[in-house]
Amino acid sequence: MMKTVFDRTKGLTSATMHYCPGCTHGIVHRLVAEVLEELDVLDRSIMVAPVGCSTFIYDYLNCDAQQAAHGRAPAVATGIKRVRPESVVFTYQGDGDLASIGTAEIVHAAMRGERITVIFVNNAIYGMTGGQMAPTTLAGQKASTAPLGRDKSHHGMPIRISEMLATLDSARFIERVSVHDPAHIRKAKSAIKKAFENQISGDGFSMVEVLSTCPTNWRMTPVEALGWLKDNMIPYYPLGNIRNPKEVG
């Protein structure tokens, strides 16, 4: 007898995503949607959409949404969660949003131990605005505002947000994952699930950083971009759990 082993989750709407071919936002959206469906919290979830390519996540995920000003998603999520503690509140932010203009908001939300979940998609570039250098752009990586590549003597070295936030005692769970092959996608899903389970059980701030690609602005085919992620991003942004004090200590 044939049984369905993979089908489109109810957590996604029927809308076709506007992302470029091969953009890994689609994979990360699906993982979040699958987790919310599996945890049976779609009807009480509220996402806070960022500014950037993934602003339109509110059209693609089957739950309530609020769109925040650039970088302010953790502050908006804080307000929603404090007023509606029974809701499952999460932000979905890119690196231009979270690691640049929104650095203050994410640091202080983590410091306060807000009971929210943060999905941080790091593709080392500004996607929507045309491939400008981001704080996460790797040394030597070309961007439209760094045509010869990021120069570490001039621009400094990229920021590792997860490691930085892991120094905060009130951050509950921080893990970095990647979506460059099916095995890592499955691992990414289990980290995202854990981040939501923490919130549902009343634990504090949880964040999953997902290493992703931007084939269009990296000037690569989608397949080449996954290879570039694996060979260049993972050595600088190592994968794994960075903070989970309850299980470690």
Binding site: K3, D7, T16, Y19, G22, C23
Partner: protein
């Protein structure tokens, strides 16, 4: 042990032709259909030999646009 048997259904008109699915198939039966152009203007993914499919769902796991459905035969 009998080999697992699977079946893949691709919603060709939603496919954006990114080719990510073609690189993760362990039996290499997912290719881009160079003879067809879908509504979006891309060559969509297709399966060459469904009898070889083992239903691992790697292609569907990799697809950014969730256009692939996978079934597997259980005895």
């Amino acid at each position: 042990m009998a080999k697992a048997k699977g079946r893949v259904t691709i919603d060709g008109d939603r496919c954006k032709g990114c080719e990510l699915c073609t690189r993760v198939c362990p039996v290499q039966i997912v290719v881009m259909d160079s003879k067809r152009i879908n509504m979006k203007g891309f060559h969509p993914a297709m399966v060459t030999d469904m009898d070889k499919c083992i239903g691992c769902a790697n292609c569907a796991t990799m697809c950014p646009d969730t256009v692939i459905k996978v079934e597997r035969e259980f005895n």
